[in-house]
Amino acid sequence: MKRFKLNHSLLTQYVLIVLCALVLLPFSFPLVSVIMYVPQFLSGGGDVRNGTYNDGLKLERMWHEEAGKLQGADEETIEGHLSELKAKYPLASMYRVDADGVLQAALPENPKLPAQWTPTYTVQFMKARSGGDPFTVVALLGDEKDEGFIVFELPRNVMRTSDGGVSNNFGFIFVGGFLLILALFLFLSFMFFYRIRRRLVRLQTAMTGPPAENGSGIPAQVEVLASDEIGRLEQSFNAMIGKLEASRAREAEEEVLRRELIAKLSHDLRTPLTTIRGHAYSLRSESLSERGQESIALIERKTGYLGQMIENLFSYSLLSAGKYPYRPKQVEIVRMTRTFFAGWYPAFEQEGFEIDLNLPEEGFMWVVDSEWLERVLDNYCQNVLRHAKSGRYVGLTVDAAGGGRIVLSDRGEGMGSSTLEKGAGLGLSIASLMLKEMGLRGDVATGPAGTVITISQRVFGTK
């Protein structure tokens, strides 16, 4: 069984916080009380003395007991005894009134008290004090209650200071404690989610942030800081990065294999073709009939064509997979076209073509791979030479106007005609794929009177 660990689950952690809050909130009052009282009980001293005034009933009982002790005593004894009591209860006031209503003693002296207590005053006093402030206990002396009385007075606030100090602030403390615990809960919740958020943001930054130094474009792995849900997410993220890197490596490996395969296939196809071509050439010098010579010429033409097909086939497979090396640069188009066509000129000349060139003096620049553009033009020129012989005309116009264009025209039978050998389409497909990659467009207008191919820059926004 898996051992339960608190730090393995964010859910458990948060449930624990909520549970603590739920349990603590109702107990906030008793808890606060305990917190308030404990230091009081521990510190002792004056608080204990205050405790002597707390209980009214106890004071009353005490006063009546003292009165019982003073039964039949003379005034001097009574006064002495009151003095002792006064020492014991320094906050209380005490009087002695004798049977005749004469105030015999007052501790402390109180000028407000009359020297002679008339029955009327006594009744008024009793009435005023009953349940009022100060707390008053009157105890009659003697068996027959005919020896006068003693009075004990204590201000109510003295009685309250000990227990009332707390009970007066009861509501405030309760609400305060409640709010304190609520605030604590909110703070803990906030911290909890803030931490989660911070870790998620870290992960998100790792995903979208700058890639690892190895230049693969794959984000770097993150450090796993905990083993909870986010920690596991980080682990999964790292695992995914690992898989991605592995698949990149595999892709690169396959790429190398594919290139090697293409190179080998190309080699294996061309080698016998070279032998065939060579021997066909050797046959020429033998004495052959006219039909034999024609056959040799055909063999030579077809081997050349086949070699080109092989090149096109492999180029196309590389190109369509986006693996054909592309190195765009600023290229001066007029100059490039001139140099390029200088290579083709003898071939057209030999076939008796009329060559019509319109190349301007001032050049213009395109950002292209000149190898690619030459390849495209090669394909077009090859088509002209092969399929537009009947027109005996090739025209090349380069024009800087409107971003520049290259126009190649012939007066052949057009591309729709049957003389177009099957497979020539591959060369044209390569041409249009390459043009598209370079941000150029090739417009072909073809008809029985000839073909015009216009290469121009693709206008942004149009496909």
Partner: protein, 223 residues
């Protein structure tokens, strides 16, 4: 006699090419692998190198040969796709030909390379009514033996044409080869120099027969 070092592992192609080149007057040393090529490089005027070889591949062999003997031109012969091979090969090789090749084209390219590297060995070139000795270099009239005096630049232009026989060369190519600086648009220098050159070497400078103008492209000297 021009000595060709030919490295080709395919026996059929090798045997046939060797025979063809020998018929054309070359002296051919044929090796089926590049491992011992370095031992023969000093006795060669030109190297024909196949890319796919057993053991060391053609690129490695070629680079090694070029280090040993930079003055011997190397022509790469490849049966692989031309895309990468061409770029990689031309880093050290001086020309590049894809199989299947035409034997005449191979021979023509060999001649061009030999001339470019000046390894033809004291052969005089006959151009119309002129005899040119590229080694000295001098230009003389065939009949009278009278020397045609050319300025340094005119001579350089003429020799550049002779290194690219039957090829159309553009004014930019001429300028950059002879003056050794990038061509500036609209520069008439080449045009002017060609006009003076024609006045000296053509029988009728208004109807030139040696330096041919290909309108819109450049110039050509046929041999």
């Amino acid at each position: 006699m021009t000595r060709v070092l030919y490295i080709e592992d395919d026996l059929e192609i090798g045997r046939w090419t060797k025979e063809d080149l020998e018929q054309r007057g070359f002296q051919v040393t044929w090796l089926t692998s590049g491992d011992e090529a370095a031992a023969h490089i000093r006795e060669a005027d030109i190297v024909i190198l196949d890319v796919m070889l057993p053991g060391l591949d053609g690129f490695t062999v070629g680079q090694r040969l070029k280090r040993e003997e930079p003055q011997v031109p190397i022509l790469m012969l490849s049966a692989r796709t031309s895309v990468d091979d061409k770029l990689q090969g031309l880093q050290f090789a001086d020309d590049y030909l894809t199989k299947p090749f035409h034997p005449e084209e191979l021979a023509a390219r060999l001649m061009v390379l030999l001339r470019r590297f000046g390894r033809e060995g004291g052969q005089e070139i006959v151009l119309g009514h002129l005899r040119i000795d590229p080694d000295k270099p001098t230009v003389t009239v065939t009949g009278s033996g009278e020397e045609v005096l050319l300025t340094a630049k005119q001579l350089q232009i003429l020799l550049y044409f002779l290194k690219h026989p039957n090829q159309i060369v553009t004014k930019e190519q001429i300028y950059e080869a002879v003056w050794g600086e990038p061509f500036m648009e609209g520069d008439k220098t080449v045009l002017v120099h060609i006009r003076y050159l024609r006045e000296k070497i053509e029988l009728d400078p208004s109807a030139p027969t040696i330096i041919e103008t290909i309108r819109g492209l450049g110039y050509r000297v046929k041999q």
